[in-house]
């Protein structure tokens, strides 16, 4: 087999993996802070992207559009906290999980009802098909950009978590709700922050994915890709999300290229899940997640 | 309140020899010896974090001590799957009520008899023949327990609607449904008012008397412990500091210190 080809696939995998991480981050944020597995993250990505692209199409300046979209995501976060989370506070997590499935449907419906369900081209002025050459391997330029954006985002987030008041607050909540409360942090505001942040991450992811695939319903399905990423990386770890993304990314690409052929291809749909399953069986809390201990 | 019959008191049901148990770094139990005699009521007491619960879990077999041996009826007990503990004849109640909230009191207790039932999916689907009969057979048994615990009036109430005291009683009923030889009660009177406690004491004693069940209980209420138990073992920081009749233990200096120490 050709080494450079391998490299190409590998790096390609890594880069697309980063894209997954981008979505996965949204999940991690919310899970970290509230223990909720937010199934609606995908829908949020779709919603953000749609809003963004439609506003652009109206011919508004990019920055304004960005600002507005952010505003919308904030409102969405607040609405969710008020309508969904507050009434369900200290319910079973599984109930909350199902609620987010409902939320997912709602947002998907809303997004397409408010805007529409056509495919919209989102051009960030990066040529899809220009590629670097490293040795004999071709690396897609766009992917590199995406990777950079994702990397940047992760950096920002970790800084945010480490150095801002809210960030620390979030960490506190993540570690122990009681503790957080006793320190006098209102859980609800926290949740709003978390969901807002998640919303913004979704926006970024949406833009990136949107410009790759075009903004369309399919984007929300990306979330399903992100789930195995989480399982592998661990629900509670930001770096986990990244590493998980990378593993899934190149895992599925390599599998596709080197195994897919034998089994009729298109295995990247389920391969990550199988990967995730294996991880689950060996290490339920994921590679980077905190161990879950049950007392009798 | 103490009961009279001293029958086969000193044949041992369980014999625990210098058991050590530790979670990661911290030691929960250190070289603990403990005998459980058939037919007695043994209370394990001690300040918070003294390792009482750990001890109970070692007895029940949920925790496997790193060092030391546990003999059950003279045989050294190997590691057992949690769901086989009940089959060995050990039943327990939990410190904070662990009832099946979705079911009625009756069903909760009936579930306690599941292991005594035969499973035949198809007959159960049709509710026919043997499976129907066994349902009825075991219902009879359960009704005896209900009668014994005087909870006829709440037989068909969902347990989630019951007051705390009654829930505790139902949980006891569920444990009894297993017809255990050894019954472990994890703070059976925690959070009860005076009457509820008195009732519970009565039931514990009656169980021990009528079914000759051996009972090991953890309890904070000293009055209760001294009243109902034949023997008291005192743990402090994972070490057994006393073991004897209530009176002996009461006068034990170490015990007094431990309790004063723990405030």
């Amino acid at each position: 087999m050709d080494f450079w080809f391998f490299i190409e696939v590998f790096v390609g995998g890594l880069l697309s993996g980063v894209m997954y991480s981008l979505v996965a981050l949204g999940f991690v944020l919310i899970f970290k802070a509230s223990g909720i597995f937010n199934f609606a993250q995908g829908a949020m990505v779709l919603f953000a992207a749609l809003t963004f692209v439609r506003l652009l199409e109206m011919g508004l300046p990019v920055l304004l559009v960005l600002a507005i979209t952010m505003g919308v995501m904030v409102l969405l976060a607040i609405a969710i906290e008020k309508v969904v989370l507050r009434p369900l506070v200290n319910q079973d997590l599984i109930i909350l999980f199902m609620a987010t499935i409902g939320l997912n449907y709602f947002i998907e419906g809303m997004a397409q009802l408010v805007w529409d369900s056509n495919v919209h081209v989102l051009d960030l002025g990066i040529d899809e098909y220009v590629a670097f050459e490293i040795g004999d391997a071709f690396i897609n330029k766009f992917d590199v950009w995406a990777a950079l954006i994702a990397g940047g985002l992760v950096l920002i987030l970790s800084l945010f978590f480490r150095y801002t008041v809210i960030g620390r607050a979030l960490r506190a909540v993540a570690d122990d709700h009681q503790a957080a409360l006793s320190v006098g942090i209102p859980l609800r505001t926290i949740w709003i922050y978390v969901w807002t942040t998640a919303g913004l991450v979704a926006l970024v992811a949406g833009i990136v994915w949107g410009s790759k695939l075009g903004v369309q319903f399919a984007i929300s399905a990306v979330a399903l890709k992100a789930i195995p990423v989480l399982i592998i990386g661990g629900f509670t770890s930001v770096p986990g999300a990244i590493i998980g993304g990378l593993i899934v990314g190149c895992g599925e690409k390599l599998a596709e290229v080197y195994l897919g052929g034998f089994v009729g291809g298109a295995i990247e749909n389920w391969f990550p899940y199988m990967l995730a399953l294996i991880v689950l069986m060996i290490r339920p809390e994921g590679l980077f997640g905190e161990k879950i201990i049950e007392r009798v | 309140m103490k009961k009279q019959n001293e029958k086969n008191k000193y044949s041992q049901l369980m014999d625990i020899k210098n058991v050590n148990l530790s979670f990661g770094g911290l030691k929960a139990l250190i070289d603990v010896d403990l005998q459980i005699n058939t037919g007695e009521i043994l209370a394990i007491i001690g300040p918070n974090g003294a390792g009482k619960s750990s001890m109970l879990n070692v007895i029940s077999g949920i925790y496997i001590p790193q060092k030391g041996i546990v003999k059950w009826k003279g045989q050294i007990r190997k590691k057992i799957a949690p769901h086989n503990i009940a089959r060995m004849g050990i039943a327990r109640t939990f410190q904070n009520i662990a009832l099946f909230r979705g079911m009625s009191a009756l069903d909760n207790i009936l579930t306690g008899r599941n292991i005594l039932m035969k499973r035949n999916m198809f007959l159960e689907m049709l509710y026919l023949g043997p499976s129907k009969n066994q349902e009825i057979e075991h219902r009879k048994k359960v009704e005896e327990i209900i009668d014994f615990l005087e909870i006829q009036s709440i037989r068909k109430t969902p347990v989630s609607r019951l007051p705390y005291g009654l829930q505790k009683r139902v949980e006891l009923g569920r444990a009894l449904a297993l017809e255990p030889e050894l019954l472990l009660l994890d703070e059976p009177m925690a959070g009860m008012n005076v009457e509820e406690k008195e009732d519970m004491c009565r039931f514990v004693l009656d169980v021990n008397e009528q079914f000759g069940t051996t009972i090991v209980l953890i309890e904070h209420d000293m009055g209760v412990v001294m009243d109902i138990s034949d023997r008291v073992a005192v743990l402090d920081y994972g070490i057994k500091i006393a073991d004897g009749t209530p009176d002996e233990v009461r006068s034990e200096q170490k015990v007094i210190d431990a309790y004063l120490g723990a405030g």
């Binding site: 369900l88 609620a99 409902g102 | 086989n84 909230r101 979705g102 999916m121 349902e135």
Partner: protein, 355 residues
């Protein structure tokens, strides 16, 4: 208000543990069956039978299956559709390979295969809980969908990748018109519902609920978690598989794997959430709700706007409404319509007293 229980005393456990201990309930049940088996066939037209009642029943069965797993045994699954697919394709393949097999046998075979697959994908449930498990079942969803799409063997190498159900013969009697099909589906579903109800009130059902409500305690009283959970997966998948077979044979006739995509899985999950977790009636109520709501919306829409709205818009509104309802029920009444029904019944029994 209609209840007159005074004087309905039980002198045997048999009668006390009867499936419907209250006389008035027995009456109601009889009436319902009469309605389903006699009144409907007389009055319903082919449209109603073909595109509402039969799909409703088939999906009810799937929901019933999922309810066994999620509602009774408390193990959440997002792969119900996949298990339906297994049922459908297994049944189809058996009949294709061994034509002389009667379709009922094929159905059972489909259910059994599905059960087997279900058990395999249920294995993770021994180590993981909640949405971790949900993820595992998602894996099933994607894997199986892919399997049937990419291995022509399953579709008997049909170029279009769809399977076409062979005609159904029962004792030389062709089941080809909506009415016959209706009777067929109705009987099967009724039977299954009866079975599940019985299961729920006997030893296995209690084991399921014990595991659902408090697994530690369940273990402490000697219930083998592994066996119980796997059994739940088995039974659940069997029913889903059967439903899948019905979906393929009776509802659609020709199916492609995409008929059992993740959206279907969610649809079924919604049915039991809205209908009511852990109750047989819940499956039916939920299914009815999910089937009728779109039709309702459509009509309302056309009434309001005068002209019929684009199917697309309707679809989107559906999404929102379903989503909203899920959240609503989870907040207001986690036990769904069935619970509301129960409460109503309680009120009737207490009437005129408030409690």
């Amino acid at each position: 208000m209609i209840y007159r229980e005074a004087g309905q005393f039980k002198t045997t456990y048999k009668s006390d543990q009867a499936i419907l201990p209250i006389f008035q309930d027995r009456i109601a049940m009889v009436l319902m069956l009469l309605f389903a088996f006699i009144i409907i066939p007389i009055f319903a037209n082919d449209y109603w039978l073909g595109s509402i009642l039969i799909p409703f029943l088939a999906l009810s069965l799937a929901a019933l299956g999922l309810n066994v797993l999620t509602g009774y045994a408390g193990q959440i699954s997002l792969g119900s559709a996949a298990f339906m697919a297994v049922g459908a394709f297994a049944a189809f393949n058996l009949q294709v390979r061994v034509p002389e097999v009667p379709f009922l046998i094929a159905f059972l075979w489909g259910g059994s295969c599905s059960a087997a697959v279900g058990i395999i994908f249920g294995l993770p449930s021994l180590r993981i809980k909640g949405f971790y498990l949900a993820v595992a079942t998602l894996a099933a969803q994607f894997f199986i969908e892919w399997l049937f799409t990419h291995f022509d063997w399953f579709t008997n190498y049909s170029t279009s990748g769809v399977i076409t159900a062979p005609p159904m013969q029962l004792f030389g009697f062709a089941i080809d018109n909506p009415l016959n099909k209706y009777f067929l589906v109705l009987s099967i579903v009724a039977l299954c519902a009866f079975g599940v109800r019985n299961l729920a009130r006997s030893e296995i059902g209690r084991a399921f609920m014990a595991v659902r409500d408090m697994d530690i305690a369940a273990e402490a009283i000697g219930i083998n978690l592994m066996k119980t959970k796997l059994l739940a997966f088995g039974i659940s998948s069997f029913l889903c598989g059967l439903a899948g077979a019905l979906w393929a044979y009776v509802v659609l006739g020709t199916v492609e794997p995409q008929a059992f995509d993740i959206a279907r899985s969610f649809e079924i999950l919604f049915m039991i959430v809205i209908g009511g977790l852990g109750s047989v009636s819940g499956a039916f109520l939920g299914a009815g709700f999910m089937i009728l709501l779109p039709i309702l919306l459509n009509n309302i829409g056309s009434v309001i706007t005068g002209a019929a709205i684009s199917t697309e818009t309707i679809a989107h509104i559906e999404y929102m409404v379903f989503g909203a309802f899920i959240i609503f029920f989870l907040i207001v009444e986690p036990n769904g319509l069935a619970r509301l029904w129960q409460l109503g019944k309680e009120k009737l029994r207490l009437w005129p007293f408030p409690y």
